[in-house]
């Protein structure tokens, strides 16, 4: 068990190192650097000034050296300075994390709370009108671009309330806070809930076909007991796995949702940072995201072990 954990952690480190190299190189392939951007923001300047910026920021150093500077900084907890704001990267990233984290948390909660029960209902009532309705609903959820849904919600807000939710760092009440985050969270979580619902449904159907469900029925258990005590626990196992995958996916949804709802979280910030060619920012943000994704995956695996005795106790 411990050995497994250590192994996983080591593999995580390997993955993260890989991510760091990948993002470092990818960014260097992207044409144009911060100097070009600054030149652009000033509507073109003296090429000499541009060259100076490049030298000042160490962009003319050999790539391995640049990489090493970044990595060794990382190990010392020094994330460097943003090229754009010239503030420490950590100061830029940290305050934005809770915003996105809350949004993601809310979206995921929404997704699970809506997705799992609806999936179960859909499976238990397979091929009924309700099932078809839920299936079409979930498919629509998977088909609608998150930003369009967000826009529709905005349009509805304008139509009905004459106003739209504007992000505020310090909302007056908890209710205001919830209202402010709930709408974007729902618009991004809708897709995840649709996915979880579909998955729960198919996994549930799979489980309901299995022998032990028949055994449970043969014991005289009621349908409810069979569905919830026996089938559901088995059916959520694959669902748990997707929550790990979903985190990475959710982030993509958050990028557009934060853009549409003008929420100053890390997701939108990443897009801005890429646009600005703010290497330290992009690199560290991507690393942060990768760490979150990898960690969530690890947690999911551990969770899986807890839930599934076959893995916990060795098959």
């Amino acid at each position: 068990m411990l050995a497994y954990l250590i192994r996983r952690l080591l593999l995580m480190v390997v993955t993260l190192l890989g991510v760091s190299i990948a993002i470092f190189l990818l960014l260097r392939i992207v044409p144009g650097n911060i100097a070009d951007i600054l030149l652009d923001s000033a509507g073109m300047i003296d090429p000499a000034e541009k060259a100076k910026i490049v030298t000042d920021l160490g962009l003319d150093l050999p790539l391995p050296v640049q990489y090493w500077h970044w990595l060794s900084g990382l190990f010392h907890g020094d994330l460097g300075y943003s090229y754009v704001s010239e503030k420490p990267v950590i100061e830029e990233i940290l305050p934005r994390i809770p915003i996105t984290a809350r949004l993601a948390g809310l979206a995921l909660t929404f997704a699970i709370c809506a997705g799992v029960p609806l999936g179960v209902i859909s499976a238990v009532r397979q091929n009924t009108k309700l099932d078809y309705f839920l299936r079409i609903l979930s498919l629509s959820g998977l088909s609608m671009p998150a930003f369009w849904l967000g826009l529709l919600i905005l349009m509805a807000c304008v139509k009905w309330f004459g106003s739209i939710p504007i992000y505020d760092r310090a909302p007056a009440t908890f209710g205001a806070w919830l209202a402010m985050l709930a709408i974007p969270a729902a618009s991004v979580g809708f897709r995840s809930s649709a996915l979880i619902m579909r998955l729960t449904r198919s996994s549930m159907l799979e489980v309901l076909r299995q022998d032990f469900v028949r055994t449970a029925k043969s014991k005289g258990l009621s349908d409810t007991a069979v569905t919830y005590d026996h089938a559901l626990r088995n059916a959520v196992l694959p669902v748990i796995t997707t929550i790990g995958v979903e985190t990475a996916f959710l982030f993509g949804g958050l990028i557009v949702t934060e853009t549409v709802f003008n929420i100053p979280g890390v997701a939108r910030f990443l897009v801005e940072a890429i646009r600005w060619r703010d290497y330290p920012m992009v690199q560290n943000l991507v690393m942060f995201i990768a760490i979150v994704v990898v960690t969530v995956n690890l947690i999911v695996d551990l969770l899986y072990m807890v839930v599934d005795p076959r893995i916990r106790l060795g098959a």
Partner: protein
């Protein structure tokens, strides 16, 4: 003695893409307390569907029990509402399945799965139910039952799992035990143990056992009476000794002739160089049955009548029935 289980005129169909499939046609039989009735036949003959029909565990749709009655202690299961039926399942009529690995919930300890049964039907509190589970495990001769009760199915061997299944099925002392190929997935040495166990417990509890199997050896060693099924219908029924000594239906005769017998080397059966007797052709698909006797196309004795009309199931000798124009 009145039979504990009395099945009459059971008809189960499936509505499929290719149309109506008559999986069980007009099947009747009865089992007395302490008696073992074996239903024997090849794959697709309808024996498992018969068993599931008794339990009302046929998936509906596509399946449907069209007619017939299944009486346990005089109560017709097919007329019961769902709630009462649930009380019967496990309480009066219990079932064990072929694959003990998949038939047990992988996420629940064996003890809990047994206790659940007891709590449900005997209304025992949790602690007592757990004790009862351990007792049952002991009864099915699982060493260290208290420890094993806390184990999950995957931690047990196949034989042990099947014992646990039996413990669960018998936990509420049902009148009828339906055993659907209980040993097919097991090795011979384990199979022998399990069959012995079922027999012992049956004697102890006076349970009526309906044994579903394709293995004529198992039938010969465990059952008192036998029903032979072919293509959804009964083709022969009688006591085990009558059937093996004087098989009436050409299908059963063919089957008995086609299996190699242990002991042949000792001159107890066929001589080594003798070819096995073959039944030509193959088992017909239930969706595509011939008009007359379903076995006619494979039957050497079949005549025009066989091909045209379904033979009635009737007594050919005392307590020995068959559905054959020729017998």
């Amino acid at each position: 003695m009145a039979p504990v289980l009395e099945v009459s005129g059971l008809n189960t169909v499936f509505h499929t893409r290719r149309g109506l499939v008559r999986a069980v046609q007009d099947v009747s039989f009865s089992v007395e307390a302490g008696e073992t009735l074996a239903i024997v036949g090849e794959s697709g003959c309808g024996k498992t569907i018969t068993a599931l029909s008794l339990m009302r565990l046929i998936p509906q749709p596509p399946g449907e029990i069209v007619s017939g009655s299944v009486k346990v202690d005089g109560t017709d299961l097919l007329r019961l509402d769902d709630r009462t039926m649930r009380q019967m399942r496990g309480g009066k009529i219990a079932m064990i399945f072929q694959e003990p690995m998949t038939a047990l919930n992988p996420l629940m300890t064996v003890g809990k799965q047994i206790a659940e049964m007891v709590m449900l039907h005997d209304g025992l509190p949790k602690a007592a139910a757990k004790n009862r589970a351990v007792e049952m495990l002991q009864m099915v001769r699982i060493p260290e039952p208290a420890r094993r009760a806390k184990e999950y199915p995957h931690q047990m061997s196949g034989g042990m799992r099947q014992r646990a299944m039996i413990a669960m099925a018998l936990a509420c002392k049902p009148k009828v035990l339906v055993a659907d190929e209980p040993t097919t997935a097991l090795d011979v040495t384990i199979q022998a143990q399990i069959l012995d166990l079922i027999g012992d417990l049956q004697r102890e509890f006076g349970t009526a056992v309906l044994l579903i199997t394709h293995d004529l050896g198992v039938v010969a060693e465990t059952a008192q009476r036998v029903v032979v099924m072919y293509a959804g219908r009964k083709v022969e029924e009688g006591s085990v000794s009558d059937l093996f000594a004087r098989p009436l239906h050409p299908y059963l005769r063919g089957l008995l002739g086609s299996i190699p017998r242990l002991g042949s080397a000792r001159g107890l059966a066929l001589s080594p160089d003798e070819r096995l007797r073959e039944i030509p052709g193959m088992v017909p698909a239930l969706s595509d049955l011939p008009p007359g006797c379903a076995f006619a196309p494979r039957c050497a004795q079949a005549d025009a009548k066989c091909h045209a009309q379904i033979p009635p199931f009737e007594a050919k000798q005392a307590n020995h029935f068959a559905a054959c124009w020729q017998a």
